[in-house]
């Protein structure tokens, strides 16, 4: 694995790990960290979260990562999976550099 790739992967893995832990706590999910696959749908099918859970995720992002969701992208698209939320976090961290 090249250094570039390993750095990108390590960064995403760290974000995903924090997200999983935070969401299990915030949403009282019964899954363990390794049972939450990165591309599992969060709403509708998949984990079956609802609009109240979406608010909890917004709160979680603010508390855990200091990220406030702006209006620059449709929120429905940003919180479809752990990986799409990780994209948000990574983009915010990239922007803060």
């Amino acid at each position: 694995m090249t250094t570039d790739i390993s750095s990108i992967i390590a960064t995403r893995e760290r974000v995903l790990e924090r997200l999983r832990t935070a969401l299990i706590r915030q949403l009282r999910l019964h899954q363990t960290v390794d049972e939450l696959d990165p591309d599992t749908p969060l709403f509708g099918s998949g984990l079956g979260l609802d609009s109240l859970d979406a608010v909890e995720i917004v709160v979680c992002l603010e508390q855990e990562f200091g990220i406030r969701l702006g209006d620059d992208a449709p929120s429905a698209a940003r919180m479809r999976t752990l990986n799409t939320i990780a994209n948000l976090v990574l983009a915010a961290q990239d922007g803060a550099k």
Binding site: I5, E13, R78
Partner: protein
């Protein structure tokens, strides 16, 4: 309008002969299904649970909806024929008293999918169907209407007596003409499923992968005993690959290796050209160390890959609201694009 465009912009109707249906009756029905479903069988009357049927070695046998119908259950499955599904259930009944009826003998399935499918369906069945929640169903108008789909858009599966299926299909096309409804075959539906990261039992399910590798752990519970649970526990500990979504401007081929820096790290297991995106979309089983979104350093043959956070589309159905939108006034609404900039939906860290 071609099927791919109709499925993403209006609605499309199709014969869903790939969906098998059986009804299970009798006092032992719950016990049998509880043994077959790897997911906790928590489903209320009129609701649908999305689960799987597994083989003993934990490979998926069928993609399964369990529908609680009063004291009975209706199963909708892809991956098995009606007779094979019925036989599978009977073979695992043990001492439980059940009766299994193959509904596909006398019924056929019609699919209706698209961001305005609800509006087309309301033309047929009345405005009350607009409020039918996702993953629920009802009997009425001589058919059973399941609010399910695997396209990422509003979707319905209509189970109709065989003698009525041709006339209903024709009626849907006739009423749907005002909504630019097109006909969608299985290939078009499979492409939509691929773009939206729905498990396809005929593609990803044709590999030797388990739900752990297929990112389907939300459909299993490790605390329960079911057909395949022992193997699943073992394979969970040994899993070395994970399914990953990727795109390319060049053709991607099922079965082709995924490589990085000259080393094979995975295999393409499902692929197709996306008319909506304008590029090739694929899923690949990739070594877990490499199986992450946001990387533009892999290749498959001569095709450069970019890995994505699934799904690959920003579906119109996320934004179409039956309370305020209509296909006929769609141009007055301002919807986000179907493909978002990758900093919002795809790969912010790619180089």
């Amino acid at each position: 309008m071609i099927a791919a465009e109709a499925l993403r912009m209006s609605a499309a109707v199709g014969r869903a002969d790939h969906v098998a249906a059986v009804r299970i009756t009798g006092g032992g029905a719950f016990n049998v299904l509880n043994r077959l479903s790897p997911r906790e069988l928590f489903v209320r009357d009129g609701q649908i649970l999305h689960t799987l049927l597994l083989r003993e070695d934990a490979r998926p046998l069928a993609d399964l909806y369990v529908c609680a119908d009063d004291e009975d259950f209706i199963l909708l499955a892809e991956g098995l024929s009606g007779p094979a599904l019925a036989e599978h259930v009977r073979a695992h009944a043990g001492a439980n008293q059940i009766d299994v009826i193959d509904l596909t003998r006398d019924h056929a399935m019609i699919s209706l999918d698209g961001p305005y499918a609800w509006e087309v369906f309301a033309e047929l069945a009345g405005p009350e169907v607009i409020g039918l929640p996702y993953m629920s169903f009802f009997h009425g108008d001589g058919m059973t209407s399941f609010r399910v789909g695997k396209t990422g858009e509003y979707g319905y599966c209509l189970m109709v007596p065989r003698e009525r299926v041709s006339s209903l299909y024709a009626t849907l096309l006739d009423r749907g003409a005002a909504f630019d409804v097109a006909e969608a075959d299985l290939a078009a539906l499979d492409q939509c499923a691929l773009e939206n990261w729905f498990f396809n039992v005929r593609r990803e399910g044709a590999t030797d992968a388990s739900p752990v590798e297929l990112q389907l752990q939300w459909r299993v519970s490790y605390k329960r005993t079911f057909i395949g649970s022992e193997a699943l526990a073992r394979r969970r500990a040994e899993a070395t690959r994970r399914l990953l979504m990727c795109v390319s401007s060049r053709e991607l081929v099922m079965g082709a290796p995924v490589t990085h820096d000259g080393h094979t790290i995975g295999t393409i297991v499902n692929a197709g050209f996306s008319h909506t995106r304008g590029d090739w979309v694929a899923t690949a089983l990739v070594d877990r160390a490499y199986s992450h979104a946001g990387i533009a350093a892999y290749t498959s043959g001569d095709s450069p890959l970019r890995t994505l956070a699934a799904p690959a589309l920003n579906n119109r159905s996320l934004y179409v609201n039956a309370q305020k939108h209509s296909y006929h006034t769609r141009h007055e609404a301002k919807f986000p694009p179907l493909v978002l900039p990758e900093t919002l939906c795809g790969s912010p860290t790619e180089r």
